[in-house]
Subunit: 440 residues, 2 copies
């Protein structure tokens, strides 16, 4: 540790380069502090478009932008590709995966959420998550391989299983991926000779009584209607009780039911990454059921004004007493709140954080969405363009890149997508689905 | 097996959807035969641009196009994603990886080449090949991870090792990748704070006495000059005798020398895929040292007029007695020669194949190339545009897609490539390079 002499610039360590961490680093780019941004990846993931990568409409690089160029030209920010494994709050150090230690005067914990199976960790093996770029690429391979397997088999039951896709979780991600898969399956129908992808079934399971429950009932209804028109089978009140490589067992109104399907997408839950446990241990902070750290209204930890926790790992109630949602806008606003104070020479913010609600949005299929902004409810095409604008304006990377993706995305939405359709199935046969019946 | 009744259409099985296999399938699309095209992947790989994926200038999907759309609208072609494991020449069947058997009346073997380590298979572990899309993506991850590792370490020797890239093999692929890496390293220099990627060394090893020996001596000299101007260190007459994860031992003029480097690219040799051994066993055909099958001048196997072997797995002398090179144009012309005869109702071609030499080309860095077309020698920018035109005109996929890639590629060549530079390093830290020294 270096002595806290006035000549030495304050050291800020930011853990995680998601929406929150990157926003904090950018806000501190020219401040009189020495910043180290640590992330396991050297790219920032634009998660709202991840479902598009999963369905093959976008390339992985379209929704991941490199961290370094986003911070280029800033002499006070160092980016390290490394994993933070522990926090030593007493000595004010974070510990990296190879044992290195980084000193900090201020620490911003913004390491985000990961997929949670609610205690059924064995389901990780048999389902596809949708939280990381690897998840999306992996799913895409399995998705297209399913059509190949359906083409290869002559057994009608097996073919039906390959052409059945179950999406677990009726939140925005589940809705978006279900709509996209239904449309994609229809789009590639002409490419196969022996099977018919347009007969693929996409089943969306929601354990609650309505989809996208963060929205109003009216919009939930709109979403269900739009999904139905895309051919998605929506099962509300359906809780998955068992998942294996051949399908899902659900409980609906007390009765058990089996859905045979070779591909199951898990979009039902997230929890904070395990590092939050280490932070809690080191600081005495409490975590909630989802692993998130309970923080002060100013975003710092009780007794540790130099540790700020933001984004999906922070548990904080909003104005109405409800926890703030796991949205990029929340993380970004929190980052700015903390970074502003740190830039002013404080260890962290000391005034309460106030969330300015920019609303919530979800895309349903191509060119349709629902959104709710400050009491205003939109659906269909107007909502979609609002979604487009908000995502690309508020959340994107450099301007040029943003425009690229916009064009590509609109093309994917409205245009022909032939070339994008199957090309992404880059998997070898060996890694593809289990044996099918003999072909003749 | 079905009886050979006139009412039954002749069955053609094509193994491999590379340049040769795909060209054969397309030529037979509307012929009075029943075609099954089998490939381990469901995409066709545009190998000449693979080095661009490796360096991060193109996305994997830019140089892979889906097979099915390329054959769309043809009622007589079935595409199967499967691996052919054996050929039963007696019963005229190919055997797939799950034991299924496909009957054929005509068989076209076009399964291509894979990386060869000339008996040093242990080098596969410590080098990166450049033959498949996985190879390219894997290398790209290692390439960018090397800069991250250099940024993370404080040990100058280790940093230099991470910033040294050795390319083994001075053929067109080795030359292309070496030039591209040197330029890419220079391009990302501004993104790092503690290390300087512009000081990266790219060393190209060639065991022979000159680079790209398929070209004239004059063009070999031009290539060496152009590479030198890009900052590539060319070592001619340097044979790799030992490769491990820390570097390469070479033998130059009888003396042994060690080059410390954490990243080694193997571009030194290919051999036919192992299926050729099965074909040789089944038919009594001979294979050459590189595993290629020796064929009749009409491209069929001795004693098996119904089996045609084309492309990189075929060993056939050209007009001058020299073996035909492993080029896409050779495979495509052979495919057309065989398919024409098959479309006419014959089991395979019975007239000798004549190769129409369209020349050879290699890119050196950005906007520069060498090419040799029917005695005409070009270099520098004119050669580059010839290369561009030839590749995109003769070898590309659908027209729209071709234009897309052209634009993107020219952009990558001449323009700024900031966003493409690091984004492709999608690897997790855990899969990244071995431990570096502590940071603090």
């Amino acid at each position: 540790m270096q002595p806290d002499a006035p000549a030495v610039r304050r050291r800020v360590v930011i853990v995680g380069a998601g929406f929150g961490g990157l926003a904090a680093a950018r806000r501190l780019m020219h401040a009189n502090v020495e910043v180290t941004l640590v992330d396991r990846m050297n790219h920032h993931l634009f998660q709202p478009l991840l479902y598009q990568v999963a369905a093959g409409g976008l390339s992985p690089s379209d929704c991941a932008s490199p961290i370094r160029p986003a911070l280029k030209g800033s002499p006070n920010v160092t980016v390290l590709m490394a994993e933070v494994t522990d926090v030593d709050a007493e000595h004010r150090q974070v510990v990296l995966d190879r044992g290195e230690r980084l000193d900090y005067d201020s620490l911003i914990v913004a390491c985000g959420a990961q997929t949670s199976y609610f205690g059924n960790d064995q389901w990780e093996e048999v389902t596809c998550g949708l939280k990381t770029l690897e998840d999306a690429v992996d799913f895409r391979q399995r998705f297209y391989a399913a059509f190949e397997a359906a083409e290869r088999t002559d057994d009608p039951d097996e073919r039906a299983e390959w052409l059945t896709f179950v999406v677990v979780g009726g939140g925005p991600t589940g809705v978006e991926v279900a709509g996209e898969l239904a449309l994609t399956a229809r789009g590639i129908a002409g490419h196969f000779r022996r099977s018919d992808p347009s007969r693929a079934r996409v089943i969306l399971l929601d354990a609650g009584d309505r989809l996208v429950s963060a929205f109003s009932e009216k919009l939930s209804k709109k979403v269900a209607d739009q999904l139905a028109s895309l051919g998605v089978t929506v099962r509300e009140g359906a809780r998955a009780t068992e998942i294996d490589s051949r399908g899902v067992t659900i409980e609906v109104a007390g009765a058990s039911e089996r859905i045979n399907a070779r591909t199951v997408i898990w979009a039902a839950g997230v929890r904070a990454v395990p590092l939050t446990d280490a932070v809690a241990r080191a600081t005495g902070a409490k975590t909630d059921r989802a692993g998130r750290i309970e923080i002060n209204p100013d975003l710092t930890l009780p007794g540790h004004p130099e540790i700020t926790v933001i984004g999906d790992v922070a548990s904080l109630a909003g104005s109405g007493g409800k926890p703030l949602p796991g949205l990029a806008t929340v993380a970004i606003q929190q980052a700015h709140h903390a970074a502003k104070a740190i830039a002013e020479g404080k260890p962290g913010a000391s005034t309460p954080f106030r969330y300015f609600d920019k609303g919530a949005l979800a895309v349903v299929g191509r060119g349709r969405a629902v959104c709710e902004i400050r009491g205003l409810q939109l659906w269909g095409r107007p909502a979609f363009f609002t979604y487009l604008g908000v995502h690309l304006y508020y959340l994107g990377g450099e301007a040029g890149r943003r425009l690229d993706v916009l064009i590509k995305w609109i093309g994917a939405r409205f245009g022909q997508r032939q070339s994008a359709l199957i090309e992404h199935q880059l998997d070898r046969v060996e890694r593809a689905p289990p044996p099918a019946q003999a072909v003749r």
